[in-house]
């Protein structure tokens, strides 16, 4: 009985997570307003000249800091928690830059789940411990690094209307979760 209850609870929350909409509020902040550890980590992992824009973000997951910058011609965004501890690094890529296996699995997912789809943005996401992440970006050591893909896409299911989604895929390109992305009101651009 208890197991059944637990199963229901898990299913309930899983369903909830699935239906969740993305709510985020961010504002630009100055370097001085940040926890020092965040600035230091970024300086160590990406040692070189770059123009960084810092943001304070409030979302359903809590408060975090985000650094956005171009590094080796690629758009990077690095997220830190409220105390300044590194959470993840996301790098924007094109479909052509992904491994063949990943592309194959992604295409399989999209073509099986949707009648029509269009990829809007692909980000590879690296998570891991502070030192492991630093070693990865410094020395390309892959130990302790989890790779995932965050993909924003327009998808029209076989029955239903087209929506904008953000899907999280594992390192093989298999879907973990997805959520609907809400478009901010655009009346002033329509009427």
């Amino acid at each position: 009985m208890r197991k059944l209850f637990l199963l229901f609870l898990i299913l309930f929350y899983a369903g909830n997570a699935f239906a969740q909409k993305k709510v985020e509020q961010e504002r630009r902040i100055k370097k001085q307003e940040l926890p020092e550890s965040a600035v230091d980590w970024l300086h160590d992992a990406f040692d070189g000249k770059k123009k960084v824009r810092w943001y304070l973000e409030n979302s359903d997951k809590g408060t975090s800091y985000e650094a956005k910058f171009i590094w080796k011609n690629k758009f990077h965004s690095v997220e830190f928690d409220a105390s300044g501890k590194i959470q993840d690094v996301e790098v924007e890529l094109t479909l052509q830059e992904l491994d063949a296996v990943v592309v194959k699995n992604l295409q399989k997912y999209f073509s099986e789940s949707y009648r029509d789809y269009k990829i809007q943005r692909i980000q590879i996401q690296y998570t891991g411990e502070e030192e492991d992440l630093e070693d990865f970006f410094d020395d390309e050591k892959k130990d302790g690094i989890t790779v995932r893909y965050e993909i924003e896409y327009l998808g029209k299911p076989k029955d239903g209307e087209q929506l904008l989604w953000e899907g999280l895929f594992d390192d093989q390109g298999k879907l973990i979760s997805k959520r609907e992305v809400e478009i901010r009101i655009m009346d002033n651009l329509i009427f």
């Binding site: 985020e24 509020q25 961010e26 504002r27 630009r28 943001y55 956005k68 758009f75 809007q120 327009l154 209307e161 087209q162 929506l163 904008l164 478009i183 901010r184 009101i185 655009m186 009346d187 002033n188 651009l189 329509i190 009427f191």
Partner: protein
Amino acid sequence: MRKSIVLFLLVNLSFGFSVFAQEHVFFTGFFPEVGITKKLKNGNKVNFKIENQEVIFRNSQEQEDRWQFRHYRTDLMAFYDWKVSPLSSLAFGLFYRIQDGTNSYRLIQQFALLDRFRRFRVGHRFRLDQTFTPEESTEYRLRYRLAMDIPLEGDAVDPGERYVVVSTEPIFSLQAGEFGLENRLVLTLGKLISNQQKIEYSVDYRTDGFFQEGFRTRLWAKIGYFYNF
């Protein structure tokens, strides 16, 4: 990039002023507008809008015709907007203009498309309209508006935050075999008061009569209130 946009606008405006100082028609005034948009359960939208134009200054030769506060136009419009995708829509609109005894009707068809970038959004609006004025030939117009929506705090506009919209809209018209061209350059400073309400302050600079006698420029100080529910 923001600097270059401001510079572009200033150059445009100063050019406009130097032209009007000669023999061209110029007038300026106050342009309040109110828009209400209702999102329907099926994802489509209904929009109502009222615009009012009051002339304050006209570059007339007659001294007594220069400064004034005269009603120029009141426009009432209603749109039904069909969602095509999360980023595009088709709309059909009805329009009624009250203007100094020559009221007119207009039918509007449009397609709007949104392009999203990391730090701003670009809206494309393609519009066809037909204006019917008593004792005049029908006027047909083709318009394309390109608008850039730039958040001023963060990469997205959240409630309580401000944004800038820069737009340009060339309008091609045909009436009784005569071809016309107009352009509307608008610079807007907006504030998203809440998820439902927006207030916008704009400078709307319109140039027309390029091919006809009487090149005309109109400069409007706009204030707009927009409500969504």
